[in-house]
């Protein structure tokens, strides 16, 4: 079972590296967002530190949306998604494979934009980089988990990117708020644990319900 999920994720990640499609789009989008923010606010170091959690999460959210818009794109080719559904693995495993592939690509982009943000905004948070990445990972797990389900739901829709954003933003708002607060706590020495706990709860809820919902969604 795990092998099948891993192979689906491998197929998506390897395919993306070969086509240079999703990863490059996500990275380009993230850099554009950060440059625009920098140009618009021109914050000093103190101000940049205060804005950093919001900036990182806004960039993460936008880039995740770009990635999710393409998560099922390869499956549209020559009935490939139907081929996946004909495999002798539970639907939940297929979902986990698709989610894992998307999660890995998104985390890779986050890993690249964190140092870029620090350079662009001239803030030195290298010592907290591990914790910041941990919070980003925790948020991205839930964001991509629910996002993968919504991407599957909106796959056949004409304006799927818009629909995906419309559905994802309100449903993940609590997770994003908790992510911003937890990161702010790390940077300013405020409370962190309750926000992390909240993020874990949301991650568990999303990942418990989405594979089941996916199975129900794809059944004809």
């Amino acid at each position: 079972m795990l092998k099948a999920a891993y192979r689906i994720a491998w197929k998506d990640v390897a395919g993306d590296f070969r086509r240079r499609a999703t990863l490059s789009s996500m990275l380009f989008f993230a850099i554009s967002v950060l440059v625009v923010f920098q140009a618009a606010f021109e914050p000093d170091r103190k101000e940049a530190l205060r804005l950093l959690p919001g900036l990182l999460w806004a960039t993460t959210l936008f880039t995740t949306l770009v990635g999710l818009g393409r998560v099922f794109q390869a499956e549209e080719e020559d009935g490939a998604f139907e081929g996946l559904l004909l495999a002798s693995v539970p639907r939940g495993v297929i979902f986990f494979g698709k989610w894992l592939g998307n999660l890995l690509l998104t985390l890779l982009v986050e890993l690249m934009i964190l140092p870029l943000t620090m350079v662009l905004f001239n803030v030195d948070v290298w010592r907290q980089a591990g914790e910041i990445l941990g919070i980003l990972t925790l948020g991205t797990v839930g964001l991509t988990g629910l996002g993968t389900l919504l991407a599957a739901m909106t796959q056949g829709a004409r304006s799927r990117e818009t629909l995906l954003a419309l559905l994802l933003l309100p449903l993940t708002a609590p997770l994003l708020i908790a992510g911003v607060q937890a990161m702010a706590g790390i940077l300013t020495g405020g409370e962190v644990t309750p926000w992390i706990r909240l993020m874990v709860i949301f991650d568990v809820i999303y990942l418990a319900l989405t594979p089941w919902a996916f199975g129900w969604l794809v059944e004809e």
Binding site: K3, A4, R7, I8, K11, A14, G15, R18, R19, A74, E77, D78, G79, A80, E82, G83, L84, L85, L86, A87, S88, V89, P90, E219, E220
Partner: protein, 234 residues
């Protein structure tokens, strides 16, 4: 076909009273179908008669809402994942990923079925379908016929009880048709069961098969439609 005095072959497909509808349109109306080991059932019928729907139902892609379907004696409604392991369905789409090479496509297929073929076995299957020279090239640029051959290579790997084919001869050249028929004959001899939808009685003729006619959702055993006459010599 098995001779009269041979032992009764095991039933691979046992479909009883299958109904299927899309919205208000009833596509299958109480279809009964039994396919035994080594048998090849060919479904004839006009466009929209329900052939592809019946194949999708047999592949378990469509859930059976009325009737029963046993595959190798297992209830597909209860054991969906296990029964999918016992069949290969090649429809209008080849289910291939263009960014993967033939060998990678086959390995992906094998991994999802918990098969563990060696690299040599994968290359052998690719060679058997005549694609050895492009075994390491992304399949995106393959012709429709090459993609069809690669899709059929899955059968060689999985060795399923049931092979479901929807218009298998489309996109194949004369050499490809001969190769496919030789492969199907061998598969039948080894006890494999085939259900195929076709509009082409000429190409099916070389197979030992049981023709069935599907008309407005009703399936009946029937003689195949008349074969096309040979064109007059120029």
């Amino acid at each position: 076909m098995p001779s009269e005095d041979s032992p009764q072959p095991t039933e691979v497909v046992s479909l009883t009273g299958a109904h299927h509808r899309f919205g208000r349109q009833h596509v299958l109306k109480g279809v009964d179908l039994t396919v035994r080991r080594g048998e090849c059932v060919v479904l004839y019928g006009s466009n929209g008669s329900g052939k592809s729907t019946l194949l999708a139902l047999l592949s378990t892609r469509y859930a059976l809402r009325q009737g029963s379907y046993l595959l190798d004696g297992m209830d597909t409604a209860r054991h969906g994942d296990e029964t999918r392991d016992r069949l290969v369905f090649i429809g209008h789409h080849t289910h291939l990923y263009g960014h993967l090479t033939p060998v990678e496509n086959l390995r992906f297929f094998a991994d999802l079925r918990n098969l563990s073929p060696s690299e040599a076995r994968l290359r052998e299957a690719v060679a058997e379908v005549g694609l050895a020279r492009v075994a390491d090239k992304p399949s995106r640029w393959f012709s429709a016929g090459m993609r069809k051959r690669l899709a059929l290579a899955r059968m060689l790997l999985a060795n399923p009880s049931l092979l479901l084919l929807d218009e298998p001869y489309s996109a194949l050249d004369a050499q490809g048709v001969a190769w496919l028929n030789a492969m199907l004959i061998r598969y039948q001899e080894q006890g494999g069961a085939v259900v195929m939808a076709s509009h082409d009685p000429d190409r099916v003729a070389v197979l030992r098969h049981l023709p069935h006619h599907l008309d407005r959702g009703i399936l009946t055993p029937a003689p195949p439609p008349p074969r096309h006459e040979e064109p007059p010599p120029c």
